[in-house]
């Protein structure tokens, strides 16, 4: 196989690195690689690294307990089909793993960890309006109202001044002029009506009417925006993108 690499400098540097973890003699032994990161400088990254180095077993147990507890405290189903049982239990885990905290943006639901198109960029691990709002209906159904509320709070924080609910918020949105210089943040038609539907579902299922009162202005603005897009037949239009705007998949092309 021929491998070509561009050289932008007059010295030779590879992007490949390696660590020799040492020789394991005959028998059983373990090796541990630790990865730590910080957005507040080297000292914090090193502190996290040192803490993780000495606590693998504890952290492994904590993580297992966290998911076990989640499964025990949301709606459990005993299904006669083992594949359906696994699918239901894994879907609860997968949805929970979509709850992501970005220190610069807040905590919200991402759309998954699949890569975007043919690239290696995890483009679906951004905060999406429609995806998080559809997912919030599932969270309500399994009784995880806290995560629904977090998700609704997050998405409403980035509502446009005219009431439109965001379609997608990049993980790097705080480092660029994401909401004004890029075409994607308010692209989709369905996030705004879904926001109203998801809030209604959350309040009806959880009884948390206080949250709806807190968000009343936001909800009203979303509704007014939606009404402003109605055509003569009362059907909402998605100005600038078209109401058939698609993100992925063959069905809509």
């Amino acid at each position: 196989m021929k491998f070509q690499q561009e050289y932008a400098t007059n010295y030779s540097e590879s992007h490949e690195n390696s660590i020799d973890l040492g020789v394991i003699s005959k028998g059983k032994d373990s090796r541990l690689i630790v990865i730590a990161a910080s957005m507040n400088g080297r000292a914090e990254a090193e502190s996290t690294y040192q803490r993780l180095l000495s606590s693998f077993a504890v952290k492994e147990r904590e993580a297992a307990d966290y998911y076990r507890s989640y499964l025990a405290h949301t709606v459990r189903l005993d299904l006669p089909d083992s594949q359906l049982q696994k699918a239901y239990d894994w879907s609860r885990i997968s949805v929970l793993q979509g709850l992501v905290t970005n220190p610069f943006l807040g905590t919200g639901l991402i759309a998954g960890y699949r890569t975007s198109g043919e690239s290696q960029r995890p483009g679906f691990a951004w905060f999406f309006g429609r995806d998080s709002l559809w997912t919030s209906l599932a969270l309500d159904a399994e009784g995880d109202f806290a995560s629904t509320r977090i998700s609704l709070e997050f998405i409403s924080k980035y509502q446009r001044s005219d009431g439109k609910i965001p379609h997608e918020i990049s993980q790097g949105a705080s480092f660029v002029d994401w909401f004004k210089a890029y075409p994607y943040p308010y692209a989709s038609a369905d996030a705004t009506p879904l926001y109203i539907i998801a809030m209604n579902e959350y309040v009806a299922e959880s009884g948390d009417a206080d949250f709806a009162r807190q968000k009343w202005e936001s909800l009203w603005n979303a509704y007014q925006f939606l009404r402003s897009t109605y055509d003569s037949q009362g059907l909402p239009q998605n100005f600038g993108f078209g109401h058939g705007w698609w993100k992925a998949g063959r069905c809509c092309r």
């Binding site: 390696s18 394991i24 541990l32 993780l52 885990i93 993980q171």
Partner: protein
């Protein structure tokens, strides 16, 4: 092993996925390795643990492509990495000294930092 480099991906036998981690099991004639990836809760970090059983001395080397950048559309500009002997780890940094990462192992010995010795190459 015995002076031979054996790429791990050729030896994958099973993959076990749990809510908190996943394990890739590699097996050859004289050794096996269970590689577990774990993301701890509420920590900005991750683990890779290699549980090994071997009949002959086995030298384990972790090779990776460094890509220390913010995801599109953001960017950090130039980034760098240094080997920290005290930490037994690579330190990843950038010029603002804000974004940082450490990748290492308590047993880490010889490393490759990516700087090649040769100054003239003919493709």
């Amino acid at each position: 092993m015995d002076g031979r480099v054996i790429p791990a991906e050729a030896l994958v036998r099973t993959v076990t996925v749990r809510p908190e981690s996943c394990t890739i099991y590699y097996a050859a004639d004289t050794f096996s390795v269970a590689e577990t990836f774990l993301i701890p809760i509420n920590e900005s970090g991750a683990y890779i643990k290699l549980d090994t059983e071997t009949e002959q001395p086995l030298d384990v080397e972790a090779v990776f492509q460094r890509d220390f950048q913010l995801e599109w559309p953001a960017g950090l500009g130039g980034t760098y990495l240094n080997w920290d002997k005290t930490l037994h780890a690579f330190y990843f940094g950038e010029e603002q000294k804000k974004f940082a990462a450490v990748v290492g192992s308590p047993t880490a010995g010889e490393v490759s930092t990516g700087i090649r010795n040769e100054l003239f190459r003919v493709a």
